[in-house]
Amino acid sequence: MKEKAQILSENDIDRVIKRISHEILERNRGSESLVFIGLQKRGVPLAKRIADNIKKFEGTEIETGKLDITFYRDDIGKNIKPTAQITDISFDIEGKNVILVDDVLYTGRTVRAALDAIIDFGRPKSIQLVVLVDRGHRELPIRADYVGKNLPTSLSESVDVKLKETDSEDSVTLAEGE
């Protein structure tokens, strides 16, 4: 049995997402220039939740897309991940402030791939990164602009994010061993 410790509860996650939603609005002075892109798969519901919050706070509808980075990975052929999820960015990102959303920030390689992918869709004004958990151990010079929870971990630990939309509950747990 793996030893598990709960890091964020359902209520914690809700509060964190609300706080990040406010921070995004504050930093970008409103919602006008924003678009959201969630990384498959748990970044997608997170992006949706932030967009829903902003709709509540400001009354504006923000375009929200999905991105799968499988085809941009730097470890194709090593780390096997057969079926790519859907990418759906059906709006123009040219000149927008793109808010990229993912669940866990770890080595930074996924974000590196996502940046390459986004730039294939156009030239945004900026790309800002939201993560629910930053667990450290970066291998690339990448940082998040909005962090739900900074969680120092050891390499042997694993962070398990569950969201209602994908896993039927909201929780973040830390487990020993892979």
Binding site: P82, T83, F121
Partner: protein, 306 residues
Amino acid sequence: MLGKKSILDAGSLETEDINLILSNADSFLEISRRDVKKVPTLRGKTVVNLFFEASTRTKTSFEIAAKRLSADIINFSSSTSSLKKGESIIDTLKTILSMKVDLIVIRHSDSGTAKMIERFVDIPVINAGDGKYQHPTQALLDLYTVKKRFGKFEGLKVAIVGDFLDSRVARSDMDLFEKMGMEVTIVAPTMLLPEDYSKMKVRHNIDEVIKDTDILYMLRMQFERQDRKFYPSVMEYNRFLTLDMKRLGMMKPGSVVMHPGPVNRGIEITDEVMDVGGKLGEKIAIEEQVTYGVAIRMAILYLILG
């Protein structure tokens, strides 16, 4: 990723692999709709298109598929006419292999060439059509077209119509359609039936299936393989087997017309049907097949080389 690295025939593809290819194709279809139609996935890989027989769409389709994945592609075309077959292919292969390529796409007019080559090389081989034997990527793109139109396979009624003699498309398609649980009827004049049709449901007149079929798959009349006349006249063929406006109008709602191309207008399908617009035009899925062909081949290259 795939159970097998080479794709030589449709029949030996596992259902699991078929589903993996089809579900990946959706992602590649999306890439083909972007402004920048390219992902870096297969950067640094080299694919060789080895075409010993004429082809426009299959060759172009593989080429575009490889390029959209950032692989390098070498086109090698040759006419077999003046060459001694077996020996020259092996020599050609030796040359190509010494250039360190990662995958071979092969088309040849002799059945079994792909298999022969696969035994000779230690890199993956994709059969892009060999003689009268197999054309598995065509069958996969046809299957994908059916999936996109109907969202399922089980119980769909498909009528394959026309020239079965020496048809590698018919052979490959029948293998996959039946494997996925579709009901296949074949419609052909006696002289153009496949060699062994004892286990197949056979009809000789398209009118017997037209009202009831979900998918009408028209085969190309393969004049280049016919050394004599297999039916009395074009008029006779038109009477029993050609898809014309009247027959198109009799097809049930939601049904589709497919053809592997290139179409012999006035033989398999009339000019009017080929150019029809509006509601009836929506039944014709021939251009979709070509679009989906690129996505399917991207999925195959990705799953083999990725």
